[in-house]
């Protein structure tokens, strides 16, 4: 329809329909084609959004974790959004080590206090996902390599994280992510 509306000449049409015939005719064709275009666009919308997370996936985006049983120096792995979540109770030495590091020397400047909740500075909650390319770092389980800085060590490309989960050495650009969470009681956190 589009190209023929372009080929219509004013003379041929004017003979039949008078002066404003061209405009009216063109208008109908353009309007019909535009409507078809709008309809097609509208149909594409659900076809694209169907790939976004479905309702059951979105609903899994909060997880409750009981942190009472974690001894200082220990860590547990929980699952948050189908990804590992590290919850670690720091020893006083680890806290000191983290606080003694000047933030100005860090690639991603954050203090331990920035990364924990007030009153619970010994509970470090981070995603167990290396910020480099998404491997799971070692160091959460007993006996695993904690790296040079006593935190986490990513075996894929050698990123080293300190006791506050901050990147100290290796390719990872940022610290291990601290997800949104809150203490719903003294012993339980709700992540997400």
């Amino acid at each position: 329809m589009a190209d023929t509306s372009g080929t219509a000449t004013a003379e041929t049409v004017a003979e039949h329909d008078g002066d404003d015939g061209v405009r009216r005719r063109d208008f109908i064709n353009i309007a019909a084609l535009s409507a078809a275009g709008v309809g097609a666009l509208g149909a594409v919308y659900p076809l694209i959004t169907q790939m976004a997370p479905s309702a059951d996936v979105l609903a899994e985006s909060s997880t409750d974790v009981d942190v009472s049983a974690i001894e200082p120096g220990q860590a547990i792995k929980a699952v948050f959004r189908k990804q590992p979540l590290f919850v670690r109770r720091l020893t006083p030495e680890e806290i000191t080590a983290a606080n003694d590091t000047p933030t100005s020397s860090l690639r991603d400047a954050e203090s331990l206090a920035d990364r924990t909740k007030e009153g619970h500075e010994d509970v470090l909650v981070t995603m167990g996902v290396c910020t480099h390319l998404g491997c799971v770092p070692l160091g959460a389980a007993e006996g695993e390599d904690k790296g040079e800085f006593g935190g986490y060590f990513c075996p894929c490309h050698g990123s080293q994280f300190d006791t506050a989960g901050r990147i100290r050495k290796g390719p990872a650009p940022t610290n291990l992510e601290v997800p949104d969470y809150e203490f719903t009681s003294d012993t339980t956190i709700r992540v997400g």
Binding site: M1, T4, A8, A32, P46, L47, T49, M51, A55
Partner: protein, 430 residues
């Protein structure tokens, strides 16, 4: 297309010229559904359904590929994954209802397309190949639809799969091994579900390939038309574009209104409640019926009840398959030189007062609860069905005196065939 007055594609600029030299795809489209394809000027709205059937295939492929992103073909979770699509996936309910009702509307359009072909004898020379390929497409779509219906793994899915594969069990000696081989087990289960899913995904693309052949074969003699008189001169035709693209665009709009009204307001009207019960090998639904588009054939299957030399079950299977396969020899059964039913008084009577009521009765009986009445009615209708195609059509041309045909399509449209009449308006004044 071979009409000498067909417009030739001329590239508009250097880029399209370059494309035309390297890969003349725009030229192909121009000659297939563009201004380069001259079409009889007198096509009625019955000629809209070919394009609509093509649209339905695209619709089914698009929605189907998307549903396959969320569906899991495993007997343990197939039913739940279908409900997952309905409840959790963004717009999943719409996509599934669009696909399920899309199948129904695909068949509706196909049946109208086939009835057009039967009434106007579109199967006659020189268009036999188009018809034969059309029957192949119909068989492929039927197979695809059947396997698709199994995928939600509801009660009707399960028992449909069991009953239809059971048809092959009617074949003497090898029947039972064939049925077990088809299912990959003694009853429909994971193996059957997985192969049905695989084939359900594959066959539409095979169908698309055969449709390309169907359209290719169509472009050799060109489209038929309601008079059945072949195109004689340029004044008998108009270019496909813009005339028939505009008409098909309007037809598509009407189709979409009917189709989406079903999708949004009555999405389960054509379905069966039992298919919302998860497949249960231990309980058969009270009335196993296929989807409406298989009802006529199902009625033929159930019409044979008496062991006449061969077992009734085998007769039913033979009758059902024969009822479709006989379409393959239709071009050689109907020898009347006149194509259009408009000019065949006797054929017209048998068509409207014989074949159409017969198909409707078969359709009703195939979907209804089995009763004495539906069995007896479907037996009479089945008898007429075979008589119509295999006996009446071959014989009718000997007795029939066709009505006078118009000299040309132009005469049929304008009342007289003078180039001058059309000449002044030959160009579309768009």
């Amino acid at each position: 297309m071979s009409f000498p007055w067909a417009k030739q594609y001329t590239p508009a600029n250097d880029f399209t010229k370059w494309i035309d030299e390297k890969l003349p795809l725009p030229r192909l489209v121009y000659n297939a559904v563009g201004a380069g394809y001259p079409v009889p000027r007198n096509l009625s709205y019955m000629w809209n359904f070919g394009v609509l059937a093509g649209f339905c295939l695209v619709l089914q492929i698009v929605t189907g590929v998307i549903l396959a992103m969320h569906y899991a073909p495993n007997a343990l979770v197939a039913f739940s994954s279908t409900e997952h699509i309905m409840r959790n996936v963004n717009w999943g309910w719409m996509l599934r209802y669009a696909h399920a009702n899309g199948a129904s509307f695909f068949f509706l359009v196909l049946y109208l397309h086939i009835f057009r072909g039967l009434y106007y004898s579109s199967y006659k020379a020189p268009r036999e190949m188009i018809w034969l390929l059309g029957v192949v497409i119909f068989l492929l779509v039927m197979a695809t639809a059947f396997m698709g219906y199994v995928l939600p793994w509801g009660q009707m899915s399960f028992w449909g799969a069991k009953v239809i594969t059971g048809l092959f069990g009617a074949i003497p000696l090898v029947g039972e091994p064939i049925q077990i081989w088809l299912l990959g087990g003694y009853a429909p289960d994971n193996a059957a579900l997985n192969r049905f899913f695989s084939l359900h995904f594959l066959l539409p693309f095979v169908t698309a390939g055969v449709i390309i052949l169907h359209i290719w074969a169509l472009h050799i003699p060109g489209s038929s038309n309601p008079t059945g008189v072949e195109v004689k001169s340029e004044s008998d035709t108009v270019p496909f574009h813009p005339y028939y693209t505009a008409k098909d665009g309007f037809g598509l709009g009407v189709f979409l209104i009917a189709y989406l009204a079903m999708v949004f307001f009555l999405p389960n009207f054509l379905g069966h409640a039992d298919n919302y019960i998860e497949a249960n090998p231990l309980a058969t639904p009270a009335n196993i019926v296929p989807e409406w588009y298989f009802w006529p054939f199902y009625a033929i299957l159930r019409a044979f009840t008496f062991d006449f030399i061969l077992p009734a079950k085998l007769w039913g299977v033979i009758g059902m398959f024969a009822s479709i396969l006989l379409w393959f020899i239709l071009p050689w059964l109907d020898r009347s030189p006149v194509r259009s039913g408009h000019y065949r008084p006797l054929f017209r009577k048998f068509f409207w007062f014989g074949l159409i009521p017969c198909i409707l009765v078969l359709g009703y009986c195939g979907g209804a609860h089995l009763s004495t009445f539906t069995i007896l009615a479907s037996q009479i209708a089945t008898a007429y069905y075979f008589l119509h195609f295999l006996v009446i059509l071959p014989l009718i041309s000997s007795f029939e005196k066709p009505e006078p045909l118009p000299y040309s399509i132009t005469e049929a449209v304008l009342g007289s065939d003078k180039q001058a009449v059309l000449g002044e308006n030959a160009q579309p004044a768009v």
